[in-house]
Symmetry: C2
């Protein structure tokens, strides 16, 4: 049993892989791969049994390359999901105090996610970009330099022997990433499942999408996500990606999917799998809504 | 009158700006700005009257940073749109033949868009990454080196004195980018207009989205685009961005928008503007549909 994840080691993807295995009560090997397409190729060619891919972030939105792989390039199924808060840590060599730090290094996204912390606690530190958050932590931990700090995941500090000076320094506590686990088969029903599918509409987008949503609404099926991606054939031609509550083997879900398939141009079920209990993060989040200027 | 575009000069954004001005029969100054957020700041602060931003590509999908600016950061309105095919050219210094070329350079996306051409016509050339397609053309045109070729827009060859050895070398002829023009006010009705707006749904996503689409379907309003972006407040909380046919001052459109506003959490009209006649590119495109593996 081997689970492929997006390397290098010490990244959030490795944390997600470890978290998923802990929830499943398993201990297979973890294998790092260098890109998202490599993660599907790994399972398709037998290098791994499953792979874990980031699919959606609560701030940045969907991971387009993962969606496009599912739509266009692989017949692997989704058999699991896990949601992980993006937690950033300030990592140094042992014995360093905040006032010692002259340089702070991370991937530009990591620096951006901790802008308020840096402004408040390290206002005079020089910011230096690194290729990855895990790489920044490795470099600082191994440098012996007491004037440098890195921003990155706890996993990287643990792997490379860094000392955590401050935890949860990200500006936004509600920044979470959802990962999906792909395999040759999806998962059997557990009673608390989701199903992901995609479809294209034949003509009038509003009317056709409305008709598809009617099928779900009439059956009382909850839709937890809807997303559009270009078909790549024509501007204004979309593939819709939908997540619903329920397993594809539930009679009501099966009947709805069959109806939607008839109404659609192209139709594809990505799989049914146990729903991750997002409720465990409820205290991290404010009410939905978005700020509007003007 | 000044129109801000995403620099450097010689890019597709400059081509879009020139094309838009030609269609409008105007000749204002063009000013290059270094980032998409700088383009809205330019108009908000009076450095320019209008700015032109890429918003959607038929292969890559939406430009998230443009959508997020519209949703979260600016009260500027959309007052125009233009669609431009992504055309790539093989540019050298004068007098070079295909067999002379040992190195081909471009932005990695430019190299990727011309993969088949490179495989077939330059199978032995070394591929070298550059920071932008326009920069690659400038560097080759000014080098005097007869063993190098760049891949980039015609506009860059024209600006920097490069010689076009081959045109339309992109793999996908149906690769087009849509740009929007932002200003303090949107556009008056012309009889062939679009309106862009965004809304959040209050609770059950499927039911609420279904109800909003019903409003449009009942009134016979065509929806030409629907897109979802995270609200950034919570995983699974979405802002929907919709384009419809018609001007917001049309009574039927105005009434529908008022109804949708009442049903929505947050509601925002980005503007009404003349619809770009996509029909002029019809011959570039195959029928909608998407390839499915497995």
């Amino acid at each position: 049993m081997a689970l492929a994840f997006l390397g290098p080691r010490g990244t959030f993807s490795e944390e997600a892989a470890l978290g998923y295995l802990e929830r499943e009560g398993e201990q297979p090997d973890l294998i790092a791969f260098p890109s998202i397409p490599a993660l599907t190729a790994a399972v398709e060619t037998g290098l791994a049994d499953r792979s874990i891919l980031p699919i959606e972030n609560s701030v940045d939105g969907s991971v387009s390359s993962t969606l496009d792989l599912l739509i266009h390039e692989t017949s692997l199924k989704i058999r699991g999901e896990i949601v992980l808060p993006v937690r950033q840590f300030l990592v140094t060599v042992p014995g360093v105090q905040l006032s010692d730090i002259q340089v702070v290094t991370s991937h530009p996204q990591g620096l951006g996610q901790c802008r308020r912390f840096i402004e408040r606690c390290l206002p005079n530190a020089q910011q230096v970009a690194a290729l990855s958050t895990a790489g920044a932590v490795e470099e600082v931990a191994k440098s012996g330099d007491t004037t440098r700090a890195a921003i990155g995941p706890a996993r990287a500090a643990e792997l490379y022997g860094g000392s955590v000076l401050a935890h949860d320094i990200q500006d936004n506590r509600a920044n979470v990433t959802r990962f999906v686990v792909l395999a040759k088969e999806d998962a059997p029903p557990t009673g608390a499942d989701k199903t992901s599918f995609a479809f294209t509409v034949k003509e009038n987008v509003a009317g056709a999408l409305h008709a598809v949503l009617s099928v779900l609404a009439v059956k009382g099926i909850q839709m937890t996500k809807i997303e559009s991606r270009p078909t790549k054939a024509w501007l204004g031609a979309y593939v819709f990606l939908v997540d619903i509550d329920g397993h594809r083997s539930d009679p009501v879900v099966a009947e709805s999917l069959a109806t939607i398939k008839e109404m659609s141009g192209v139709f594809q079920v990505f799989g049914s799998y146990p729903r991750f209990p997002l409720e465990i993060f409820a205290e991290l989040f404010s009410a939905p809504g978005f700020p509007v200027s003007g």
